[in-house]
């Protein structure tokens, strides 16, 4: 069983990395829309997929994954916004967990927006 002693060990390990993470003003942000509309459309597995993919690639110090509310485009949920400091904010729509590895790889790692998944592509 998971014990609090184990948590203590995690704390000690995390403390060493803590400053790095806290003081990273250049951290990118992944915002997953998690209001009623987003949740109903399947935002939870998308958020989980981002968390897992970012952990797998060891990007946890430079990317934070968090939730946001409804931005008024409920018909395009799950909606994911990606903010990288110094770059234009990108809004991905109708995101499925299968699309996440590509968004992480192309956009967050290589700074190439996956245009076909963005809101601009769908509205044409």
């Amino acid at each position: 069983m998971k014990s609090l002693a184990e948590l203590k060990a995690i704390r000690d390990r995390a403390k060493a990395q803590l400053d790095l993470r806290k003081e990273n003003p250049n951290a990118a942000r992944v915002l997953v829309g998690m209001a009623t509309c987003g949740i109903a459309a399947g935002a939870r597995p998308v958020l989980n997929a981002f968390t897992e993919e970012i952990a797998k690639r060891g990007l946890t110090d430079s990317v934070t994954v968090t939730q946001t509310g409804c931005i008024g485009i409920c018909q395009y949920e799950p909606v994911v916004e990606i903010e990288i400091p110094g770059e234009e904010k990108v809004t991905y729509v109708k995101v499925a967990p299968e699309m996440v590895p590509r968004i992480v790889n192309d956009h967050l790692v290589n700074h190439n927006v996956v245009t076909e998944f963005t809101i601009g592509a769908i509205q044409k």
């Binding site: 998971k2 203590k8 009623t36």
Partner: protein, 184 residues
């Protein structure tokens, strides 16, 4: 909503927006009594009697970006369609408690779904808030109290990836236990 755990995530976010510092999520399942209770209690800003009536109305929302608010109405419907009941107790500046009672054997019962994932994401996305999650069945119960974790963690945040992984595994192991699964 396909799972009740998604309703919980949705309604718990009302607590977050009400600036609660402590949110209690309780799931009590009893096969024996054919009853399930889901309760979300917070110490947020609370509502007046009039506001409580308003949130049950799907065409009311405090938001300005859209005209409908479906979170509470959907949650209420999920309980009432099984022959259960739904209640909101709220007091201004004290907090709000939302309780849904289900009759699980009813044909229109929505499955509880992945409640652990809901709890984990709530902690991940609101590391400044304390959550107390209690889940019980006829076989037993367990509690995850982030205040206890915080005591051990000191200034290490709850949303640290390794901590979240620990939380995920803790929930998984304990859930397995109260569902009568083999212990590892």
């Amino acid at each position: 909503m396909r799972e009740l755990s998604l309703n919980v995530m949705d309604v718990a976010q009302n607590s977050v927006r009400a600036e609660a510092s402590l949110v209690r999520i309780t799931v009590e399942e009893s096969e024996k009594d054919d009853r399930m209770k889901i309760e979300i209690a917070d110490n947020g800003c609370g509502m007046t009697e009039e506001q409580v009536q308003q949130v049950i109305d799907p065409f009311f929302t405090t938001r300005t970006t859209r005209k409908v608010g479906l979170g509470v109405p959907l949650f209420k419907l999920s309980a009432e369609q099984t022959g259960g009941s739904f209640n909101i107790q709220s007091e201004k500046n004290v907090g709000t408690t939302t309780t849904a009672i289900y009759v699980p054997s009813h044909m229109d019962m929505t499955p509880l779904g992945d409640i652990d994932s809901t709890v984990k994401i709530l902690i991940q996305c609101n590391p400044q808030i304390d959550f107390v999650f209690t889940h019980s069945t006829d076989l037993g119960s367990f509690t995850l109290d982030t205040r206890e974790l915080r005591e051990v963690l000191g200034d290490v945040s709850l949303d640290t990836p390794d901590v979240l992984e620990w939380i995920g595994q803790y929930l998984e192991e304990n859930t397995q236990n109260i569902y009568g699964g083999a212990s590892l």
